[in-house]
């Protein structure tokens, strides 16, 4: 039993350390350091020795002294095994091993005798590994997007692995791609159109959705059950089956290449989910408050304006943000309806740029950063509202 859990502990922990060191090595390679070997087997054995050492010493030494001495010794071993590199890399290795040694502080020979210890070890390390794995897999493309926008096409063709940024040079050189896409590719205009369309969609959607949601939530009328159950069904119908008829009708009405056309379509496609989200919230408002409003002689309109809206501001905010994000990120309709560069939205403009193989990739990535950044900032800042929106809206995407 003890032997089994010991083996599992050694294996799992050293695989974890190996992953940490490999990710560090990959990220350093992208800073222009010339590594060509991950040294998997040697580093794995190193990891086993380190884990074993830490386990055997256990609590016999002061924790700080223990981890610092082990880390120093093993960093030196690591240097000996691996290729030479600049000093900041060794400092990073030192920190990684320090982090690892600290993380395994709970493990000692006695701990291995407990029940289910091998399962617990695996779960612990999967958690640790999972955090690093998910963070790396998700952030890596975003990182590449950002750093590519600061590089040049020629430099990247010479060495596709060198993403190091030279901060010593002129800052205007570093941000050159951003100046270029604003000057030559008219991105200022596209930002304006995208903002106009997204904010317009939010306002019109709310104007239509709030009264409708109130009617569904509160009033009795013929066909209510049918309507409220068909909202979600309508929402499930995908944009791709609407595209051809809308394209034909919009061409004949002259609504293609116009902001108005986009506003109509975006509003209609976001309305069902907006109504669904709002009516759920309206139902949770106590009816007595409205009755008081009726007593005061308010009309239905007055009740909505003076009672319902002020009371449901958080829900309205989350609907607004959610609709804004859908409209800002929307691509299919802007692809179909816009073919004149004068009326492009940001997404369509970036897609248009990629159509030209000559467009250097740093411009594309600078454009991508510009279209991504507002959404991510809004998301981080208003996360609380947005998450509730995402869960209630639940399914779009």
């Amino acid at each position: 039993m003890k032997f089994k859990s010991l083996t599992i502990y050694l294996l799992v922990s050293s695989i974890f350390l190996l992953c940490l060191l490999s990710i560090l090595k990959i990220m350093s390679t992208l800073q222009g350091i010339n590594f060509t070997n991950l040294n998997i087997s040697q580093n794995f054995i190193l990891g086993i020795c380190l884990s074993l050492g830490l386990l055997v010493i256990g609590n016999k030494l002061n924790h700080l002294i223990k981890i610092f001495s082990f880390t120093s010794v093993f960093t030196i071993f690591y240097l000996y095994i691996n290729e030479s590199a600049p000093i900041w890399y060794y400092i990073s290795v030192f920190l990684v091993i320090l982090f690892f040694s600290h993380k395994v502080k709970n493990y000692n020979l006695n701990y291995l005798k407990e029940d289910f210890v091998s399962e617990k070890i695996i779960f612990d390390f999967i958690t640790l590994f999972g955090i690093i794995f998910f963070a790396f897999v998700i952030l890596f493309p975003f990182y590449i997007m950002l750093v590519t926008s600061f590089k040049t096409q020629i430099a990247l063709l010479v060495n596709p692995l060198d993403f190091s940024l030279n901060f010593k040079e002129d800052l205007s050189d570093l941000f050159k791609s951003y100046f270029v896409i604003f000057d030559t590719y008219n991105f200022g205009r596209y930002i304006l159109i995208s903002s106009l369309v997204s904010i317009g969609t939010v306002i019109i959607t709310l104007m239509f959705a709030i009264p409708a949601a109130y009617a569904v939530a509160r009033l009795n009328f013929f066909g209510k059950t049918f309507l409220s159950s068909s909202i979600l069904v309508i929402y499930m119908f995908p944009a791709i089956v609407l595209v051809i008829p809308l394209y034909t009708v919009f061409s004949q009405l002259g609504l293609r290449n116009s902001v108005v056309g986009l506003l109509i379509v975006y509003t209609a496609t976001t309305l069902p989910v907006a109504i669904y989200m709002l009516q759920g919230y309206f139902k949770s408002i106590p009816k007595e408050i409205e009755d008081a409003g009726i007593m005061d002689g308010h009309s239905w309109f007055g009740i909505i304006l003076k009672i319902i809206i002020p009371l449901s501001l958080p829900a309205i905010a989350s609907v607004a943000l959610y609709v804004f994000m859908i409209a800002w990120n929307e691509f299919l309709f802007s692809l179909m309806f816009l073919d004149n560069p004068k009326s492009f939205t940001l997404s369509r403009a970036i897609q248009y740029l990629t159509g030209d193989a000559e467009t250097p990739r740093q411009y594309l990535m600078a454009g991508s950063v510009i279209v991504t950044l507002p959404v991510l900032i809004i998301f981080i800042y208003f996360e609380k509202y947005l998450v509730s929106g995402l869960t209630a809206g639940s399914v779009k995407g």
Partner: protein
């Protein structure tokens, strides 16, 4: 009394609902039915432009004192295939200027030239000339005449409104379109994309449900791929996976994991040799599925996390007292708690992935064996310019969708209300 009140209530309800219902009807429900109409017609992209009579105005002086000039109208029918009938022409002349020897089809009355051109056949062209003269023999300003635009109108048949129907589109969809392959690719993409997103969602939710430093930050990061704009993310991936100078291939070659760069998005099959068995992997499709998982597992994560946080803690404590390890706790407590939400997620994501267009279009454009039904709608309608065919494929999608929704509401509809 109560009767009138309920009447007022009804009327208010309809007034409040009308704008939203009208908009949704005209933009979402009308097109779905319009698809049926179009799918039974042979319509190309070029047919949906309404033929227009057009005129371009050219002006030349004919006398030396510039008091006489010739206006040439280059008239044409904008359509190459459809005729226009009852073409009417109107143009206005400035004060004191009159036409000389007006064409017999035209009349001049109170400064306006009005002409009846009758029928124009497809591709019709004519250079129509009018000589005009200033009555007071003064110089005529070219710019004033040029700035006045002629007004043309005419009648034409709208091919969409005729009643000729045909079944050819559906025949083509089923027999000339690799329909089986199309369907299989769509299901492969949908099924594995959905399953993968849910598995990663469970893992991530299980992870974030534990206590560690930076947990709320981690939750935000996990949602990044879902909230980011698809265009930016898809192009970043394309760049990353580019076989010539993409970071991914460069890294793999650098560390000797790959012998040579692999075109992950442009190669249809990859032959793998596992224990002597030759396995043909649909490479580009698999890559697209991975993108799909990467982008949509956050949604599954969000739902499963919300459910996990509602699981009472004492369940786990009781299990611990009974001597259950982490694995047993996961299988016997966590999994039963999340099966309902997983089945709902599966159905919803299945329907959405089934309709996914943007991701595949931006990554591969439907090439290298990634042609799914929605991509086919675009290819037929806009790349091959066969609107009727595109509509027919849309109809197939809608029918399959209705079947899925029926299953969804039959099987899971009741469960969904319980949660």
């Amino acid at each position: 009394m109560s009767n009138t009140l309920s009447k007022i209530e009804k009327r208010t309800a309809y007034t409040l609902l009308l704008p939203a219902v009208f908009l949704v009807f005209s933009i979402i429900l009308f097109p779905i039915f319009a698809n049926i109409w179009i799918s039974f017609k042979e319509v190309g992209l070029k047919d949906i432009r309404i033929p227009e009579p057009r005129a371009k105005k050219i002006i030349k002086y004919v006398s030396e004192d510039k008091s006489e000039l010739k206006i040439i109208y280059k008239l044409r029918n904008s359509s190459l295939i459809q005729k226009i009938t009852d073409v009417e022409f109107k143009d206005k002349l400035p004060k004191d200027i009159k036409p000389i020897d007006l064409d017999s089809r035209c009349i001049f009355k109170s400064k306006i030239i009005k002409c009846q051109f009758g029928e124009w056949r497809p591709k019709y062209r004519e250079n129509f000339e009018i000589l005009v003269k200033n009555e007071k023999n003064k110089e005529i300003d070219k710019k004033i005449i040029k700035s006045q635009k002629p007004n043309l109108s005419g009648k034409s048949d709208n091919i969409l409104l005729t009643t000729n129907f045909t079944l050819n589109n559906f025949k083509k969809v089923f027999y000339e379109n690799d329909f089986i392959d199309l369907l299989l690719t769509t299901f492969y993409f949908t099924f594995f994309g959905t399953i993968g997103a849910i598995i990663f969602g469970i893992l991530a939710a299980q992870l974030v449900n534990q206590n560690f430093y930076g947990r709320s930050f981690m939750r935000s990061i996990l949602l990044f791929p879902y909230v980011g704009p698809v265009v930016a993310l898809a192009y970043t991936w394309t760049l990353l996976l580019d076989p010539n100078s993409g970071t991914f291939n460069a890294l793999m070659v650098n560390f000797n994991i790959f012998d040579e760069p692999i075109n992950l998005l442009g190669q249809k099959y990859m032959v793998m040799n596992i224990f002597g068995f030759e396995l043909k992997l649909r490479l580009a499709l698999t890559t697209v599925i991975f993108f799909e998982i990467w982008r949509y597992f956050p949604l599954a994560f969000l739902f499963i996390l919300a459910r996990l946080q509602a699981v009472p803690k004492d369940l786990y404590e009781a299990a611990e007292v009974d001597g259950a390890g982490p694995l047993k706790k996961f299988i016997h407590i966590t999994l039963p708690q999340i099966t309902a939400i997983i089945s709902i997620l599966f159905m919803i994501r299945f329907i959405w992935n089934f309709n996914k267009f943007e991701d595949i279009f931006l990554l591969t454009g439907g090439a290298s064996g990634t042609r799914t039904l929605p991509i086919n709608v675009y290819q037929q309608g806009f790349a091959i310019s066969d609107i009727g065919m595109g509509s027919a494929v849309s109809i197939v999608i809608v029918l399959l969708l209705i079947i899925f929704m029926f299953i969804y509401f039959k099987l899971i509809g009741r469960k969904a209300n319980e949660i």
